[in-house]
Amino acid sequence: MSAFDTTIRLIYLVAASCFVLGLHLMNSPVTARRGNLLSAAGMVVAVAATFAVLIDAGTVRTVGWLVLGAGALVGAGAGLWAAKTVKMTAMPQLVSLFNAVGGGAAALVAINEVVRHAGTSGMSAQTSVPITLDVVIGAVTFSGSLIAAGKLQGVVASRPVVFPAARLINLGLGVAMATASALLIAGRGGVPLLAMLGLAALAFGVTMVMPIGGADMPVVISLLNAFTGTAVAMAGLVIGNTVLITAGALVGASGGILTKLMADAMNRSLANIIVGGFGTGDNAAPAAVGPGGQVRALSADDAAIQLAYAAKVVVVPGYGLAAAQAQHELRALAELLEARGVDVSYAIHPVAGRMPGHMNVLLAEANVPYSQLKEMDEVNPEFPQADVALVVGANDVTNPAARRPGTAISGMPILDVDKAKSVIVVKRSMGHGYAGIDNELYTDPKTGMYFADAKKALTEMTAAVKVLVG
């Protein structure tokens, strides 16, 4: 091997190591940013080395350089612009879009190989298999990711879309892909067959994602991300490039694990999402929805991260805290946050609970210092400064309906929880409180609902905060 080749391979090895270490650092919020930078550094090195290879090869003509330059510039520009201007909430669909083009690029590498040789004849299985896999996976990912992005963006219907004769269509596509693949692998495929395979795979990507509901999209995107990784690894096998193999396999495997973690965190099984999507339409359990609007359900980790990175948290205890006898768990969470430097106080509504002073008796049992208890009049002006209002088993005393006349609680002074920057509500369901009316707070966009018994919820949140901050 020439010294040049050796150097390039060593550089690729370094780049691959950067990717691994970068991902490693991204496991913790504290080092995540550094990890991303390290990974990016590896990428710059690898791409630079590839340019060196191009130059060294000496066969790239001016047109080639121009084409490459134009392509890279257009792509990079579009990517940069989109990434810089996208709204926080639209990031997932953007990631899906980037994933689509990544999958597309991987497929193109294999397609180029087939086109260049005008077919797969003469190729050994060790080339034709990766080629076929690359095209299939790349194409499925391309169309599937675009649909997923569309669903999240609202361009494509977010609800599960079930085709008539969906099974038949899928069967047809499956047969078509299998046949084409077999022929290609057997070395008997030409460019038209490849085109057919690509089109079938594109169609399959659409029929695969369409019947899945919007709530499951993050998991689907993650799965497609792992697909792209695998496609890239296949592309690497096709052109015998180790950095593609390493990086692709790395993403394939880590993406797979991540997909599983995400599905677990949402209490969904991956098989359910995909097969469910194919078969009967959608069986996602959508978050409970109140009559007034959409409810956002939180996981323990989401709640934990909001709490851990808040500067000021106001806890609003209510009857549910007493019913769950979760006062000790609440105090443990509050102490943990305080140890992190978060300013924690408790907002005591005069009629929270079921007897005068109920919350005092309860919190005294858990030895919450009096100095942290704040009366309604004292704490209400503080809510706008609170990063998080953590409402635990309180309902009526936080219900903004009290401010309007004509409801069962009109005229009752309430805690201005809805003035906080964000709200986390812990309760078991969308059930009513003592007054028996709906609470508009729960459908406020800035409110996240954590549906669980207060004791369980607080224990889980404490554990999640501990994991988070180490």
Partner: protein, 362 residues
Amino acid sequence: MATLTVGVVKETAPGERRVALTPDAAGRLVAAGFSVLVESGAGAAARFLNPAYADAGAEIVSADELYARAGIVLAVKPPPVARLRRGQTVIGLLYATENPGYAGELAARGVTGVDFAGLPRTLSAAQSMDALTSQENIAGYAAAVLAAHTYEGFFPLLVTAAGTVPPARVLVLGAGVAGLQAIGTARRLGAVVTGYDVRPQAREEVASLGAAFLELGTVVSDSGTGGYAKALSDAEQHDEQDELTEHIAKHDVVITTARVRGRRPPLLVTETAIKEMRPGSVVIDLAAGELGGNVEGSVFGETIVTDNGVTVIGAGELPVTMPYAASGAYARNVTALLRHLVRDGALVIDLDDPIQAGVVIR
């Protein structure tokens, strides 16, 4: 705009130590534009002295002057009708339903009676005016402390070199406002507390204070209206008493708080039950009153020790033993109610308003 004049009377009922307005609250009313008259010595029994009222901007006057000048008379117990005059308004715990006679006299004299006991309890907006709740709350706390003081053993479990004392077993019958507060307070002191009530919601409410709920096999009841319990039928009541008897004997302290609106309090602890209690046990009857109480043989305002050494206290008016706390809370209720009744410096009677519909005696 004429200023409204309110007058705080000195309570005349025997044993009554509360006062309808504290100096603090008087100050708030003065600040809100009221003119406040205070009968000399009105707060003395609650340790609020004349100078404190004067400092808050109130005028210290004689009883005669007070009744003559005040537009609104503030009292805890119903003041003598004879002193009131036509056009005056009197605010207090008048119990018009239970005392139709008094209500009739007020009407005859042309006095508007505003009765805290008529307040709609389940109305959220009325909670700050709910004097029944604020006083019951004090009664519950005081009952638990009184029980601990009267009981001749420890409430908590203590393991010491001089042996281990098991914790006192406390049974609270009736888990309304007073019952719940008694449960919470007794638990704080370390007693093992069991609660019981006929209302089905009470089970969860008792558990929310960490106490056990006593499950009786026979008696099940729905809630009545307004958050109050329904009266039981005679047969049901009998079953309840029988079942309770065996449980009562297993407890060292029994606190009863059961009431049914507008009726004689249900009898829960029979003489038989008391006979089976251990010498040294304590029974506190918060429902004891002129109509009787929850405990057979309890006498309003008296402490009786039975032959078998059980102390029975007819503690129907415990808030008077904590006049400082009780007057403070009552005064808050009074000011909240005044704020609701008075608009633009004048008393506005509006019977379409659900709160007024409840409190204003018709």
